[in-house]
């Protein structure tokens, strides 16, 4: 029989009718939309038991306490530790994305010699050779750590020199070191007892010091109050985040902080607003006023406002002797609510100049900010977890990223009390990484390891029998019956806090008024920490909000 065109139509009609009564159309519809809900190319979070652990951030010298959520052994969430007495559960914005950094595209994954992949053994050989041929300079960004001890003692044993690249906060304290002979690393600000704080462009609410300390303090004592308990006066050339929140914003010409400080000092002395200490500033009030672009009367008015509610403390954003001198005039040095000495422990350090002549090799620890670029023809060994680019270094050595190694957390700069803590490793290293300290130990096995130094520091703390340990609960050191117990407690990311120093520890006299220095511009979260890259999320959010420009070089 012959199949006609009509048969085909009829057959098709029958098939179509039948198909509607099969699962085919309906199940396909369902499955396809389920497919769109689980597209295989869309990454999903790791499965696995979720745990909450404690550690500290070592991405900048402040060392804030972290509450870290981990899943399947990887950090998946960062928050502050509210029980910590110093950081009080607060963190800088960048910390919340820090756990992403270990997978940052700019992560240094292998040893690189002049850009080409190399090996640790080659690097070791090259460094050992360099040491035998001439002096080495070792640069540290966070002195006072166990690792620092290793670096320093290596330098000592191999006629090298150990130098420190200081944070802006510490540099602001340097003038006091030269006047009092006390290391800037054992000086701090007694913010909690100051009633008036005059900040010369220091980003007090935007990347200065430990956010949990000043930001919380300001929020509790000043925010939104017409007559605050803590008066924050911001002297700055632009309406920065800090200026916009300050009790008073004094809008001055760029770069006139020093003149302003000197002018204020003169006004204070001339108008007998302070019991005059030390020499008179050379600059006249009118000169200071015209330089900083405000009227003389306004300057005098400001001087009166400043001393109206003592104790008063002036804070510079960076190394600036005249602002330091203003503190001397105000009698803030060594006083309640002023610049205080927190410990007798730390010695002085040679600041790391960019100019490094006649060194055979320069070793730069990963704690040194990427911006620090040694101007030297020496062979440069740079430990770093992320490659910021645009920097000359012969050896690029992959260091630990975020929470990838055990380290200890010394004092935060500007802290008024001595502290010590241990930051356990919480993230498995993915590549063959080594810290500068481990590297040096492998070069010279007679050096103590980081673990050893931490151990002996704990012993020391135990034998001093002073201070308190803040963990799940608060315990005086005297309560511990063995150094091991103390160390074990600290290894759980508890914090040891020393007893506050007796007042009047610090004496400071000025012989003559210090010379003017060009004040450096202030910085913010994005520029204070030492990693050359930002968490991808931070870059994204800065780009998508009007808060601030994301620093161009720190891109995803």
């Amino acid at each position: 029989m012959k199949v006609t065109r009509r048969d085909l139509f009829v057959w098709g009609a029958g098939a179509a009718a039948g198909l509607v009564f099969t699962p085919v159309p309906w199940k396909l519809l369902d499955d396809v939309s389920i497919w769109t809900q689980n597209w295989p190319w869309i990454p999903q979070p790791p499965r696995g038991p979720v745990e909450v652990k404690q550690s500290f951030c070592s991405l900048c010298p402040q060392g804030c306490a972290l509450k870290v959520k981990t899943a399947g052994g990887w950090p998946v969430g960062i928050a502050g530790t509210s029980t910590n007495p110093l950081t009080r559960g607060a963190l800088c914005p960048l910390a919340f994305g820090a756990h992403q950094l270990n997978w940052h595209p700019q992560r240094v994954r292998t040893v690189r010699h002049n850009g080409v992949p190399s090996s640790w053994s080659d690097a070791r050989a090259a460094f050992a050779k360099a040491c035998s041929e001439g002096p080495v300079v070792i640069i540290d960004g966070q002195p006072g750590r166990a690792a620092s001890t290793v670096l320093a003692s290596f330098a000592e044993k191999h006629n090298g020199s150990y130098r420190v690249e200081m944070s802006p906060e510490t540099r602001a304290l340097m003038p006091f070191e030269s006047w009092t002979g006390v290391s800037a690393f054992s000086l701090g600000y007694d913010l909690e007892n100051a009633y008036t704080i005059v900040s010369f462009g220091a980003p007090l609410l935007d990347g200065w010091g430990v956010p949990g300390r000043f930001t919380r303090l300001w929020a509790e004592r000043a925010a939104g109050r017409s007559d605050p308990q803590l008066r924050l006066i911001q002297i700055e050339d632009s309406l920065s985040h800090t200026a916009s929140r300050a009790w008073k914003w004094v809008n001055i010409r760029p770069g006139s902080e020093s003149a302003m400080a000197a002018g204020l000092a003169r006004a204070l002395i001339e108008e007998k607003l302070v019991s005059a200490r030390g020499p008179m500033p050379v600059i006249t009030i009118s000169a200071a006023a015209s330089q900083s672009g405000i009227s003389e009367s306004a300057l005098g008015e400001l001087a009166r406002t400043i001393v109206a509610r003592p104790p008063v403390l002036a804070i510079a954003s960076n190394h600036n002797p005249e602002i330091a001198a203003l503190n001397v005039v105000l009698g803030a040095v060594g006083a309640h609510g002023g610049v205080v000495r927190r410990s007798k422990r730390t010695g002085k350090y040679i600041p790391a100049e960019a100019q490094i002549p006649n060194a055979r090799a320069v070793l730069i620890d990963s704690s040194v900010p990427w911006d620090f670029a040694p101007d030297s023809n020496a062979e440069i060994f740079r430990f770093v977890a992320w490659d910021g680019g645009l920097q000359k270094c012969d050896w690029l050595l992959p260091a630990a990223g975020f929470l990838e190694e055990l380290t200890d957390i010394p004092n935060a700069p500007t802290s008024a009390v001595e502290t010590y803590a241990i930051a356990p490793q919480l993230s498995k290293p993915q590549f063959e990484i080594q810290s500068a300290a481990q590297f040096l130990v492998s070069v010279d096995p007679t050096l103590p390891t980081v673990e050893k130094v931490i151990h002996s520091r704990c012993e020391e703390l135990f034998h001093q029998r002073a201070g308190t340990v803040y963990g799940q609960e608060v315990t005086g050191v005297a309560k511990f019956d063995s150094a091991q117990k103390l160390e074990a407690e600290l290894e759980k990311a508890s914090t040891w806090v020393g007893d506050p120093p007796p007042p009047g520890e610090l004496r400071c006299e000025l012989r003559e008024w210090p010379p003017t220095m060009i004040a450096e511009s202030s910085q913010n979260w994005a520029s204070t920490w030492n990693a050359p890259v930002l968490p991808p999320l931070a870059t994204k959010l800065y780009r998508e909000s009007s808060l601030r420009e994301a620093p161009g070089r720190r891109t995803v």
Partner: protein
């Protein structure tokens, strides 16, 4: 006319056959468990009576789901029987320390949040209410994965028509909703999604 109806009926029959018989075979891929695990044997031989003996709750209330190696290693740190399945478990997973890549019949997608604590500890459901008699089964049934959605067939249920399903057979959202409706428990979308 009769010719027409025959042709029509023929088309109808072809469609029905391919839709109900051929289509499911094309849609699902058969997969086999890495190890021939047998609940029944374990219940009989080792006297394990309670699911929670192996499928434990963590201290924080989170359900651990399938037991990890160390649970199995509690007995099988070394071979204690003769079965090849056990041999495989010990030699290729426990000793080298690799977790067993079990195929989970009730695996839900990442956007589902399900708390065993809430359903078992608070609402007092039994394992069998959702997982059926998997616990008494002599051996694991065939694991079939949907080519398109990647779900286990147990989520849709074994009958394509979704008729006459028993507990453990069919774990679509609708099934959760039915039970919630029956018990008058109302949670919003994000009550069960994340």
């Amino acid at each position: 006319m009769s010719r027409n109806s025959i042709v029509f009926g023929f088309g109808l029959a072809v469609a029905l056959f391919s839709g109900w018989v051929l289509f499911p075979r094309a849609l699902y891929v058969n997969q086999h468990q890495p190890i021939e695990f047998r609940h029944k044997i374990h219940a009989e031989k080792s006297g394990i009576t309670d699911c929670a003996q192996c499928h434990v709750f963590r201290d924080d209330g989170e359900f651990a789901g399938l037991p990890s190696n160390d649970t199995c290693a509690g007995c099988h740190s070394d071979r204690i029987g003769t079965s090849p399945a056990e041999a495989k478990l010990v030699e290729s997973y426990i000793k080298p320390g690799h977790e067993v890549p079990w195929l989970v019949y009730s695996r839900q997608p990442a956007n589902v949040w399900f708390s065993h604590s809430i359903h078992v500890k608070r609402a007092g459901l039994n394992c069998t209410d959702c997982h059926g008699n998997l616990g008494e089964s002599d051996q694991m049934h065939l694991y079939q994965v949907n080519r398109i959605s990647g779900y286990s067939r147990d989520i849709w249920g074994h009958s394509m028509s979704r008729l006459g399903r028993v507990p453990g057979d069919g774990m679509k959202m609708g099934d959760c909703e039915d039970c919630h409706r029956r018990h008058g428990v109302e949670v919003g979308c994000l009550g069960c999604h994340q």
